[in-house]
Amino acid sequence: MTKTVDLRLDATYLALREIGPWLRCLFDANGWGPDGIGPIELAIHELATNSVDHANPADGVLNLSAETNDDSLVVLLTDRGREFDESSVTAPDANQPQVRGYGLMIIEQVATSVSYSREDDTNCWTAQFPIPIQHPST
């Protein structure tokens, strides 16, 4: 059975700290236990941080929606900020440590898939995570 749980956040760094408790409630409600929350919290935190940093929504709001079923957790992050410019993303070079640009790298390692679309004035990020949680190889 599919369940959906929403979270509305202020687009501030402080508000992003609500993501962890929200996920823990979600895991509890699905009887999944706490293992595996950490990587997903980090990935969603990185998505939301990118929205705060780059989209900077005029209404000051981020919306998270989590849809769960038997074998996956799908998280949708939306904001009404500036459109994401993929050309602005520079893939990190392992031989040349850089200061920024690691958020998407982290998300792509933790999530099964991550996608972006622009719908009217809204940025839509969708990230899918496997259930049971598989820890990324490091």
């Binding site: 992003l16 700290r17 980090l42 440590p97 850089q98 200061v99 920024r100 790298m105 490091t138």
Partner: protein
Amino acid sequence: MDILTGNHQISVTTVILTGRLDALEAAPLRTVLNEHIINGQINIAIDLTAVEFVDSAGLAALVKGMKDTRRAGGDLKLVAPRAQDAVRVFELTRFDRVFEMATDIDSLLADW
């Protein structure tokens, strides 16, 4: 031939962090590190033992500190965090192989 030997004791500034090192705390950390470097304290040991969570913004503050200290002729080294939620970002970005890390502050300072 004259042989001169001497002991040079390097001055290391220790910074101890607790709690979350995330986007909210990255800016104050950058400020603190920058102040140390401007004051000539270019060898900095950051103790992350009690840090619970690190994200890419927190990591970025540490990377910037490392690059700035090295550019000034010093270094920035870490005591590794114990919490897996803090270690994770270093592993996923491979920065656990870039930073010099020790398991405790005494061994970090002893090997400087």
